[in-house]
């Protein structure tokens, strides 16, 4: 147990460290980097001497020009640890942490709800598809699911915008809540938040549940032929008990593993969906920062997106031994580890194999 936890924690910390390092070197060393861009911008504005411009750029980027690179790097690390993400380059008066702090709850809310809904729908749909594989319902569901997994989430968002928001004005399409309501725990505000979240969440769910359903179907079909299921049936155990305790629980195992992986993918999708629905989450601000070349906000958003995915992954990892005790017991460890390894990332194995997994996961 301890070594399992230690290994997971190590990977989580390592990931954060790698991402922080990437973001440090990217803004400083990449071709066409932030520094020269900012300089040009200030030169165009005019009215400043070149020394002043250099000073301003350094202050904005947190660069001390005389310090060696490694020293700057450690300074950067220390700032990050203290939660200091710097200031926005476009509005130097707002701190990046402030922007991120306001945006994060919206993304967590919409992506979290969407993940739960699509997971639930997928498990139900996949079980139906496996149980009635040869009937009309099964075939029809499989066809629908294959079609849905082929549609990228941004196209779904555009179609929803076109049909529901602009054609028929059924639901609000912009922002996270109506400006008429006052934020707080009151009925109009909560209602407004919910109605504004319907379209973004629907965009996630429509594209994601098909992947879940397909992988659940695969898992159930795989478990269906397992010896212990056949044994349970031949003992004369009741159908329901076999389905729930023998089929269900064992089929769910690989699904929980891919929950963690798919989380990162969904958060990635938020970039498109939040942009199209002007939903003020992390993805929305990330793209805004990219388009306005606000590198400090951009890297801040990226860091926080990554850290939240890492934390969620860690939570799933901690939760996993409850579902599958084999993973922490020394005897079963080898076996279950290879099972998971084969499962993730391969089309024949379980995992949300949508059209869009692969490179962008």
């Amino acid at each position: 147990m301890i070594s399992y936890l230690a290994r997971r924690l190590l990977v989580a910390l390592l990931t954060i460290f790698v991402v922080v390092t990437i973001s440090f070197f990217m803004v400083r060393l990449m071709p066409g980097n932030a520094e020269s861009y900012l300089e040009n911008q200030l030169i165009q504005q005019g009215g400043l001497s070149s020394a002043q411009i250099q000073e301003r750029v350094n202050a904005l980027l947190g660069i001390e020009p005389k310090a060696p690179l490694w020293k700057q790097y450690f300074q950067y690390l220390r700032d990050i640890v203290h939660g200091n993400l710097g200031h926005s380059m476009i509005n130097p008066s707002t701190s990046v942490l402030h922007v991120v702090g306001n945006a994060l709850p919206w993304t967590l809310f919409s992506v979290g709800v969407a993940l739960l809904i699509s997971f639930g729908l997928g498990v139900v749909g996949g079980t139906i598809m496996a149980a009635f594989a040869d009937s009309f319902v099964g075939r029809f569901l499989t066809l629908v699911v294959s079609f849905l997994t082929a549609i990228p989430n941004y196209l779904i968002a555009i179609v929803l915008l076109y049909l529901i928001a602009d054609r028929y004005h059924l639901l609000p399409s912009q922002g996270a809540y109506s400006v008429d309501t006052s934020p707080g725990f009151n009925l109009p505000f909560v209602g407004s938040v919910l109605s504004h979240s319907v379209l973004p969440i629907a965009s996630y769910v429509i594209t994601a549940w098909g992947g879940w359903a397909l992988s659940m179907k695969g898992c159930v079909v795989n478990t269906l032929g397992a010896d212990y299921v056949r044994a349970a049936e031949s003992w004369g155990l009741r159908r329901r008990r076999v389905t729930q305790s023998y089929l269900g629980r064992n089929s769910m195992l690989p699904m929980v593993t891919s929950l963690a992986l798919s989380l990162g993918f969904m958060v990635g999708g938020s970039v498109f969906i939040e942009t199209y629905f002007s939903y003020p989450g992390m993805g929305f601000y990330l793209i805004q920062a990219v388009n306005s070349r606000d590198y400090s906000t951009m890297m801040g958003c990226f860091l926080v997106i990554t850290v939240s995915v890492v934390v969620a992954n860690l939570a799933v990892d901690l939760f996993y031994p409850l579902v599958d005790p084999r993973i922490v017991s020394p005897i079963g460890r080898k076996q279950s580890e290879t099972d998971i390894d084969v499962g993730s990332g391969v089309v024949v194995g379980p995992g949300p194999v949508s059209a869009t997994s692969g490179a962008a996961r």
Binding site: Y295, V342, G358, A359
Partner: protein
């Protein structure tokens, strides 16, 4: 050759795979010969803007009065080119890292696998967006490299565990005892057994690259250059296509191209799956 014949047979018996394969062939044809079929009219003709489908413009016209169909055809190459390049990169890195890690074992394997864990945890799309925002290049090789930055990790892990389990299989042991050279070990003993993963993951990687690449053009993160489906949708959206039904063809035609391509990939990868995994053919 036998493999090709099997593939043909599988496709013939499963019509959806056949459909996928044929559609893929059409896209490949368009990507290679598109520029000699279609010509992009550079003359702007505002009087003919947003025409519905008709003679001379089968899918209608855009807001400059240019026909849409040639743009769709010409838009195939830039997307396919980068996506296939990215697929090759993903597969190459994934297989090399996976095989080497599994074959070496020990502490090298441990370190490499922890690194793979790290890459798998980083959300790919935000990283791709951030890198392409900083690099800001339209070079197909650079774009493909950016798109492959996280994609190889999943494949590397799968190939590595496959290599691990292969290392203890009887025929590999027999080959080792016979003292066959490393070249033979890799090409004759190991590769045929990881081949299925590789082939299917190649298609999946291309698919993922198309998704991310079109997304980059949609958001305007990758530099807008030439004609491709992502920029078309981007332009349509910024010209207010959502608010008027007249430009609906300009918005939805490239979307249909993308969805059709994704479906073709999924259906065709199913045929490949059957080809390499005979157990599935019975079911």
């Amino acid at each position: 050759m036998k493999l090709l014949r099997d593939l043909g047979r599988i496709c013939w018996s499963d019509k959806s795979s056949l459909f996928g394969g044929l559609v893929l062939l059409v896209y490949i044809f368009l990507a290679i010969f598109g520029s000699s079929i279609a010509r992009l009219t550079s003359t702007e003709n505002p009087a003919a803007a947003f025409l519905p489908p008709g003679r001379g413009h089968i899918l209608g016209t855009d807001f400059y009065g240019r026909p849409i169909l040639p743009q769709l055809i010409l838009g195939t190459r830039p997307i396919m080119e980068v996506a296939v390049l990215s697929g090759i990169m993903v597969v190459f890195i994934g297989v090399v890292v996976g095989l080497a890690s599994g074959y070496k074992g020990g502490s090298v394997d441990y370190l490499v696998m922890r690194f793979v864990d790290v890459i798998l945890t980083i959300p790919g799309l935000p990283l791709i967006i951030v890198i392409s925002a900083v690099v800001h290049s339209a070079n197909p090789f650079v774009l493909a490299g950016i798109l492959s930055v996280t994609g190889w990790a999943g494949l590397a892990r799968a190939v590595r565990s496959q290599a691990l389990s292969l290392a203890t299989v009887d025929f590999v042991e027999a080959a080792r005892i016979q003292g066959l050279p490393l070249r033979n070990m890799i090409s004759k003993q190991l590769l045929p057994n990881v081949g299925p993963y590789v082939a299917i993951n190649f298609l999946l990687a291309i698919n993922g690259a198309i998704y991310a690449l079109v997304g980059l053009f949609l958001l305007g993160v990758a530099p807008v250059s030439g004609t491709n489906w992502g920029t078309m949708i981007n332009l349509a959206m910024s010209q207010g296509a959502l608010y008027s039904s007249s430009s609906i063809y300009y918005l939805f035609a490239p979307m249909a191209m993308i969805v059709l391509l994704h479906m073709a990939f999924i259906f065709f990868s199913r045929a490949l799956d059957r080809l390499f995994n005979p157990r599935l053919r019975v079911a």
